[in-house]
């Protein structure tokens, strides 16, 4: 057994906490939040530029800011935070020591150096290739090197995670199966390994090409392999934020999954099929066959969508079950009405779940359908969709769990509790606007990644309908609201860490029942299985889904009139 002085026991939750793991969690989470701030500011400036009445940045700065925005939020913020989650879900939830903390620190520094390097070369100009860096656009070699270092660092962290699982098993710090949250983290880590390997396969040759050691990289080959990384990395996020949903439900309500088997099988479907969806980025490439496209984006992908719908059902279901056990049994929705809506960890998590389903999920299926993809490919609909997944879904879930980590891991009380209480709502309203209005503009044909849709100097002119301009304006307003919500988050978190009251180490009076957190650290399904409210919500979701799906087929049918 590891040296016992390396552990403390959490007075609030009873969890046994490995101090080196705790330090890594803190550091990774703090760095993540710093990059969220930087990347968020770039996002705001991009949105203000796309607001025609404001048109904030000049063209070259727009593409620079867009590149930095994509990299800093999609890669750096999310992956640093995910490393913190991996350490939490292994060492803390399993109550065991972290494998090779030194290696984890090497990983951390590689990631940090890589992230800073990439940011610096992007800011120097000459590397405004967007985070996708499609060849033959060429960036500074340090751009690719930075991303490679970042990825290698993340891989080392994943190794520590898997090593910790082995230690926990050998030292028998848990019985039977790992807790569901840890299982979700395993899913995320598995997808991360594939993501990083694919990244290496494509970015190392691209680095060599940028220094002149390789003469040519085929653009289509690049796209195929690059999206094995680009899409899969989004699936790390999905797995991680679903794990966070289960975690928050367990901590706040003591909720147990309705069925461990079903939830784990859903994660298994992620492992099997989620990454195949990468083909949806290639749906308009003429060189690839329909068999390839349709097998991967339909048959296989729908199984992964099914898995997401299972999680979307079982997370609120587990909350409903826990609430009904406590006696909130009136009608369909008393369990939901009486939920702690003033607790930002809960409200953030629940908003994340609902918005991920309605904004990100439904539209993802639309975009992943080969035929209707055609009317939206490369329009603003695409960023509209993924601000529903990766911002409303992942980012909001990570913000929500931060409200638990600050007291639990950082041992600080939340400063400005009123602001914290409002924060998820403000952010959610802003992001809903971002998502909906970008999708609206995209449905009207407005391209993504475009500085000037008035085509002022273009040889051939094109006029978008007035509604498109309205959408972009509303998008700009929403961006301001979302940024306000983001700023509130940063103020609360940074304020609490710097100036918050340190929580006492003295154990509170022993509670009569086990602290709810134990539900997060154990295997076991809920006893109460009647969840009519959740089924009603699921029906609303399914009906919206089907209606919206067919509306888009109708749009497609109108593209080529038959007469």
């Amino acid at each position: 057994m590891a040296n016992d002085t390396q552990f403390r026991t959490c007075p609030d939750t009873g969890l046994k906490i490995h101090l080196p793991a705790e330090k890594l969690i803190k550091t990774n989470a703090v760095v993540a939040v710093v990059f969220l701030l930087v990347g968020g500011l770039f996002g705001l400036s991009v949105a203000l530029t796309r607001w025609p009445a404001v048109h904030f940045l000049p063209a070259d700065w727009f593409y620079l800011a867009l590149t930095a925005h994509g990299l800093d939020v999609l890669l750096v913020w999310i992956i640093f935070f995910e490393m913190a989650i991996l350490y939490f879900a292994s060492a803390i939830l399993l109550g065991c020591r972290l494998a090779a903390p030194k290696l984890a620190w090497v990983g951390f520094w590689l990631m940090l150096v890589g992230a800073v390097m990439t940011n610096v070369v992007v800011l120097m100009g000459e590397s405004s290739v967007m985070f996708t860096s499609y060849v033959p656009m060429q960036a500074d070699p340090l751009f690719y090197l930075g991303i490679i270092l970042f990825a290698v660092g993340a891989l080392l962290c994943c190794c520590c995670f898997f090593g910790t699982l082995v230690i926990a098993k050998n030292e028998k710090t848990y019985e039977g199966s790992v807790p569901l949250v840890t299982f979700g983290a395993i899913t995320a880590a598995i997808i991360a390994v594939f993501t990083i390997a694919s990244g290496a396969i494509i970015l190392i040759p691209t680095l060599m090409w940028s220094v002149g050691l390789v003469s040519y990289i085929d653009p289509l080959m690049y796209k195929v392999v690059w999206w094995a990384m680009g899409h899969s990395s989004q699936q790390i996020n999905v797995s991680a934020h679903v794990a966070v949903w289960y975690l928050i439900a367990a901590v706040i309500f003591g909720a147990k999954p309705l069925s461990e088997k079903v939830s784990r099988t859903a994660f298994l479907l992620y492992i099997l099929f989620l990454q195949l969806g990468s083909v949806h980025h290639l749906l308009v490439e003429p060189g690839l066959s329909s068999e390839y496209k349709i097998f991967n984006t339909s048959y296989a992908m729908y199984l992964a969508v099914l898995a997401s719908m299972i999680h979307g059902l079982t997370v609120p279901g587990s909350i409903e079950a826990a609430q009904r056990e406590k006696g909130f049994n009136k009608g369909l929705f008393e369990w939901l009405r009486k939920a702690p809506w003033g607790n930002p960890a809960f409200s953030g998590m629940f908003l994340s779940l609902v918005m991920f389903g309605f904004l990100g999920g439904i539209t993802g299926v639309i975009l992943g359908t080969e035929q209707i993809n055609l009317i939206m490919h490369n329009t603003l609909y695409v960023p509209g969709h993924f601000h529903g997944t990766v911002v409303a879904g992942t980012t909001l879930a990570f913000m929500a769990v931060t409200y638990l980590l600050v007291p639990l891991i950082f041992r600080k009380e939340i400063l400005f509790p009123k602001m914290a209480q409002w924060q998820p709502y403000v952010f959610a309203i802003g992001v809903t606007g971002l998502s909906v209005f970008m999708m609206g503009a995209g449905t009207l044909g407005v391209p993504r990644r475009h500085w000037d849709i008035t085509f002022t100097d273009a040889a051939m002119s094109f006029d978008f309908p007035g509604a498109a301009y309205l959408m972009l304006g509303l998008n700009g307003v929403s961006a301001v609201v979302a940024s306000l919500g983001g700023a509130m988050f940063i103020i609360v978190v940074v304020g609490s860490l710097l100036f918050g009251k340190t929580k006492g180490e003295a154990a509170p009076a022993p509670a009569a029942e086990a602290p709810p957190t134990t539900a997060a650290a154990q295997y076991g399904s809920a006893a109460h299985l009647e969840v009519p409210g959740t089924f009603a919500l699921a029906m609303v979701f399914l009906v919206s889904f089907v209606l919206y799906y067919f509306v888009n087929w109708k749009y497609l049918a109108e593209t080529w009139g038959l007469s």
Partner: protein, 52 residues
């Protein structure tokens, strides 16, 4: 109570053995996308005839 841990002394069911083995899952999670996405996709790109 719905699913307990395979009962004492019972044989552990196949699915549970699979789900309890992260390294087996890791292998599956790498082989599936490598075969269906990467290798299949790369084969398609390679088999596009060159212009001349």
């Amino acid at each position: 109570m719905v699913d307990d841990q395979g009962g004492k002394g019972d044989k552990i069911p196949f699915m549970q053995q699979l789900l309890d083995n992260p390294f087996l899952l890791l292998c599956i999670g790498i082989v599936m996308p490598t075969v269906f996405y990467l290798i299949w996709g790369i084969m398609e790109v390679i088999s596009i005839p060159l212009a001349n």
